[in-house]
Amino acid sequence: MAKSILVIGDEEMILDAIKIIFEDMGYSVRTTSDPTEGTEEAVRNDYDLILTDIRMPVRNGAEIAESVLSRKPSARILVITAYPNDPLVQRAMTAGAIGLLKKPFEIAKILDFLK
């Protein structure tokens, strides 16, 4: 079965690009621009990798990581950020996120974490 990715972000264009690229590579990709829905989806279903933008209205990526990992510690979350030193990134990492992606996203790094 194809490995699955969940992407949570508020930039539709980026979500589309990730979906096109990784579906083309044989992965199953689900995207959502609603952070609350994304959080619940991440807990409800098993994804091999969850990508979440760090700065979003309503709910940020650190809160998503904390919420998902407190309920599903096995979840593998990568946060997407423009600034690695953003305090929210460090908060997400402390919560158990496994790494970060530089905006808009890094193909090689995502593939590395899907291995």
Partner: protein
């Protein structure tokens, strides 16, 4: 009695005694093993057997060395004497290079301490001296020097690392060493040993060089090059002062030397290396070879340097540098975007503050970050040129995905446009597929150096971000004398005591 016969007698006697002992005592069984062993009342301890001291001599395969093993006398046997030694030596036909002094001491030890003395030098032959045909030695001033580090401080000696060696017309580049005659050798039995001819490998003189009474000289001013097989001089384009409005931009197929500064807004392209004696300003520099500045780079956030080889500078500030080879900066790298397929090596007191450093094979510095300065990012372990291509693919993908969405929306709103837009949509889809295929292939060539390290001899300040093979690490407290490396099985970066890279 000749020594060989004596040895044989010694051996036979010893063996017979051993067999005799076994016959008398019988082979012990498991039941007997723990039982106390007592002598039968009528049994008496045997008198020890007697044998004279003796020497066994061996000659090496090449006949150049004879060694003896000296056996002490046993029981009431006679001592090993020099006469017995002489007898053994003569018996072996040894007549050259006999070392009586070495033997005397060993014989004495053997007799007095009653121990076997091994590897006693009896005689040494004379090794042949090989004939060495004439060969060239490159002058020390130009010879390639290996990278040296002072062991205590692991300090890089930047003076020895110069990538750019300039020569003047007539400079002696190499000197011919005369032929060394061979000499026959002799074995310990006095036989002659032939010598060999051993040529010394040396680089041959190449372009722009000339023989001149036992030396090779430069035929023109230029840059000296040396490989294991050859050395030569390349003519260089020399800019006598600054590179500015008087000279204009430069595009030269060979090496370029700028004796002054490279001023803001100018472009220099070289098919080989560039040496700039002064500072490099907000300029564009492209070279297929090395880039050396005896000063530094003051990029004003506009300088873009693309280098096919190594880079050497005293400092770098606010520029973008991409190199294939190692980058060596003596004092400071501040707010620079660096990428190299090799290492970034800072001098003994070299600091990196701000900017993004991508060095596939790692980084070594005295300090990274600062107390209140800009944050610093260090990325290692990945071939960043491949990553750059992947970024290009990603950006094209994003643009195409956007177009695709636009087309699909348009077709929904105005179905009449389908005849025009469907072929275009299909074209975009094909292009996307091709891009993603390219990305997949590139990822397989994304060489990883999992042993890349970040070594900091002084302090790493909080706010520094370190990434090795895509694994992230945030420095949250000041750390001193540390090396960061990848702990692959646990998927994290670990911090160990500082090690010289």
């Amino acid at each position: 009695m000749p020594s060989d016969e004596r040895m044989l007698e010694h051996l036979i006697r010893g063996s017979e005694e051993l067999i005799h002992d076994i016959e008398i005592q019988g082979v012990p069984s498991m039941e007997q093993a723990d039982a106390p062993t007592a002598l039968a009342p009528e049994e008496k301890p045997e008198e020890p057997s007697s044998a004279d001291g003796m020497a066994a001599i061996e000659i090496s395969k090449d006949g150049l060395l004879a060694l003896a093993t000296l056996h002490p006398p046993s029981g009431n046997g006679g001592p090993l004497t020099l006469d017995l030694m002489r007898e053994a030596i003569e018996g072996k036909g040894i007549n050259t290079g006999i070392d009586w002094e070495a033997m005397k001491g060993s014989v004495l030890t053997c007799n007095e301490e009653r121990i076997v003395v091994s590897d006693v030098v009896v005689a040494r032959g004379r090794r042949p001296l090989d004939e060495i045909p004439p060969y060239l030695v490159v002058s020390e001033a130009f010879a390639e020097k290996p990278k040296t580090e002072q062991p205590e401080t692991a300090r890089i000696n930047f003076r020895e690392l110069s990538l750019f060696t300039l020569v003047k017309k007539g400079d002696v580049l190499a000197t011919l060493m005369p032929k060394q005659d061979g000499k026959m050798g002799t074995t310990v039995r006095g036989a002659a040993v032939a010598f060999h001819k051993t040529p010394v490998p040396y680089p041959k003189p190449g372009k722009n060089t000339q023989w001149e009474s036992g030396t090779v000289v430069a035929l023109c001013d230029g840059k000296f090059h040396q490989t294991p097989d050859s050395f030569w001089v390349d003519e260089v384009l020399e800019v006598r002062g600054d590179l500015d409005l008087r000279t204009g931009n430069i595009d030269f197929p060979g090496d370029v030397v700028i004796m002054g500064e490279l001023r803001d807004g100018f472009v220099v392209k070289a098919g080989k290396s560039i040496l700039c004696m002064g500072a490099i300003g907000a300029a564009r520099v492209e070279c297929k070879g090395d880039l050396v500045t005896k000063s530094g780079v003051l990029g004003k956030e506009k300088a873009v340097l693309t280098v096919g080889g190594a880079v050497e500078a005293k400092f770098m500030e606010a520029c973008s540098l991409s190199a294939v080879g190692p980058i060596r900066v003596k004092t400071s790298v501040m707010n620079v975007a660096i990428s190299t397929k090799d290492r970034l090596e800072m001098g003994d007191r070299g600091i990196i503050i701000g900017g993004v450093v991508k060095a596939a094979n790692g980084v070594s510095a005295a300090q990274i970050g600062s107390e209140r300065g800009p944050r610093t990012e260090i990325h290692c372990g990945i071939d960043f040129n491949v990553e750059k291509k992947l970024i290009w693919i990603r950006d094209k993908n994003i643009a195409l995905a956007f177009k695709l969405k636009e087309i699909e929306t348009k077709m929904k709103v105005s179905p009449g446009t389908k005849t025009v837009l469907v072929p275009l949509r299909d074209k975009i889809r094909t292009a996307l597929r091709q891009l993603n295929e390219g990305a997949r292939e590139l990822v397989t060539t994304l060489d990883r150096n999992e042993s890349a390290t970040v070594s900091v001899k002084g302090v790493v300040f909080p706010g520094t971000y370190i990434e090795i093979c895509h694994i992230s690490h945030f420095v949250t407290k000041p750390r001193r004398m540390v090396t960061y490396r990848l702990d692959k099985p646990n998927g994290k970066i670990v911090e160990t005591a500082w090690e010289a890279p």
